[in-house]
Amino acid sequence: MNDGLMIEVENLTKRYAGHTAVSGISFTVKRGEIVGLLGPNGAGKSTTMRVLSCYLPATSGTVRVGGLDVFHNSAEVRRRIGYMPENNPLHLEMRVREYLKFRARLKGLGIRRSRERVDTVMEQCSLTDVSKRIIGQLSKGYRQRVGLADALVHEPDLIILDEPTIGLDPNQIRSVRALIKSLATTHTVLISTHILPEAEMTCNRMLIMFEGKILAADTPDNLQRLVSGNGQVVAEIAAPLEELCNCWAQMAEVEHYDVSPADGEFFRCALTPSNGSDLRPLIFAMARDRGWYLRELTRNRHSLEDIYVKITKPPEEEEGT
């Protein structure tokens, strides 16, 4: 029907009065993928999700979910999407089971089917213990799970989660992350976040957004390769400070060095290679030749945070480098 693409966005632009939130982005998401939308606040992630979930219309461009246009076939599309907006709005005066049943019925499930599905998602999201509690009395972690359960209750093909782990503590984040991962393959998931390690762990692919545009779209590994050419090396060496610094200054392959005292005679050196070469053999050879003790030699991969910061650096700063 649609050659396996769950989401097709072509040249999507969304303008609010006087302000362009999203300008001309295009991307696709295949069925069964978990895709992360990364970006600073104001990048256009929430807006993109709102257009996808049929809450807002696009100013221009086409958006298709499961082959159906979100503007022309809005009702059909909404049936296939489970959406959890930013800040997870819930009816705080209702009880958990009551709320989920209400949402299930609203989404078109029959009485018996809604009861079954509510039991299933409550188990999936570990909510069975709190099924009779009033939502307003639950902790934030539980409330996020209620929001997730609501998004899942009608077995949608596509699940859209806007910042699902915001404000959660590490334990809660882990359980939500595990839940999202368990959804892969059977569902397609689009999540937005600015917690990078989480995106790296959960997503098959990431789209980095900035000021309404997509700056990079790839798997975490490929993004690493894109940015890392430089593998910074850290070495701990016991040597006289002045000699050590001279050594680094004279080495052509070292573009930048930073030496700080570690314990005893050892110094911690952070070295950036000038042409992407691997400095580790050179350092080892040098230490061996001079008789210096070498007790640590590590190559740092660029964290996703470095990549993110590098890619989303404002243009004026980049001109200076």
Partner: protein
């Protein structure tokens, strides 16, 4: 959704809105408030009448003073103020409109819940009519026809102001603002007929139109048992008009 599915979202939403009216204390305060107001009128009626016989229908006496009017004008604004505004303020409007439920179902459900609550609110007043029926020495003081037409009048006027309230609530995120706008609209409606009286009766179409807004007079007719179809059609069509406007406002997010 098929035929049955079409009603499902509507009924689910109505049921939930009604439940939320009765879960919060506001609902009961409103009902108690109305019961108090009707009781007050009843008391005034009794002290004024004493043991004299009354020549006009009892139902008309109920509406001779301003108390019940104020109630009819005040309560819709409190009932409708949070229907849309609260959902927009808390963000649940977003989760509501991203379900397969259509905007029409949403508007219809919220209005239905408001009307049902309005009707329930007036049920305690039946008690006073029973008292009059059983204890008045004047047989035929309570005529089923006049009682029925009085409640019909209350219902129609109520629907009208409730629909204005829905419209006001849909326009804003602030419940207070919605309530104020509805209140002002209700009072303006009440006062419009004074305007019609004050203007020179020179047969201009403006005075004709204004005289249609003579709620006080129409209500009086209802309490006398006069069912003026023009009034009925007027209220029904104005209700539908404001509901249509409400629907347009809700749908307008799709045009932006």
């Amino acid at each position: 959704m098929g035929g049955r599915g079409l009603m499902r979202a509507y009924l689910t939403l109505t049921r939930r809105e009604l439940a939320s009216f009765f879960l919060s204390i506001t609902g009961y305060v409103i009902i108690a408030g109305l019961a108090f107001a009707v009781g007050l009128v009843f008391y005034l009626l009794l002290t004024a009448q004493g043991t004299q016989t009354v020549s006009i229908p009892i139902t008309q006496v109920f509406f001779n003073n301003l108390v019940l009017w104020i109630v009819i004008v005040l309560t819709p604004c409190i009932i409708t103020m949070r229907l849309f505004a609260l959902e927009k303020a808390t963000g649940t409007f977003e989760t509501l409109t991203t379900t397969p439920a259509t905007d029409l179902q949403i508007v219809a459900a919220k209005f239905t819940a408001a009307v049902v609550f309005f009707v329930v609110m007036w049920l305690p007043s039946l008690g006073y009519l029973f008292i009059i029926q059983n204890y008045a020495n004047q047989p035929g003081a309570m005529d089923a026809g006049t009682v029925g037409s009085m409640y019909l009048g209350v219902f129609l006027v109520g629907c009208f102001i409730l629909s204005v309230g829905c419209f006001a609530s849909a326009m804003t995120k602030s419940q207070v603002l919605a309530a104020m706008v509805t209140l002002v609209a209700g009072i303006a409606l009440l006062l419009l007929h004074y305007l019609a009286v004050l203007l020179p009766q020179n047969g201009h179409w403006q005075t004709e139109v204004l005289s249609f807004f003579n709620i006080a007079q129409q209500m009086l007719d209802f309490t006398r048992g006069i069912l003026d179809t023009r009034a009925i059609i007027f209220y029904l069509s104005m209700t539908l008009f404001f509901l249509f406007l409400t629907l347009r406002v809700i749908e307008s997010r799709r045009w932006k």
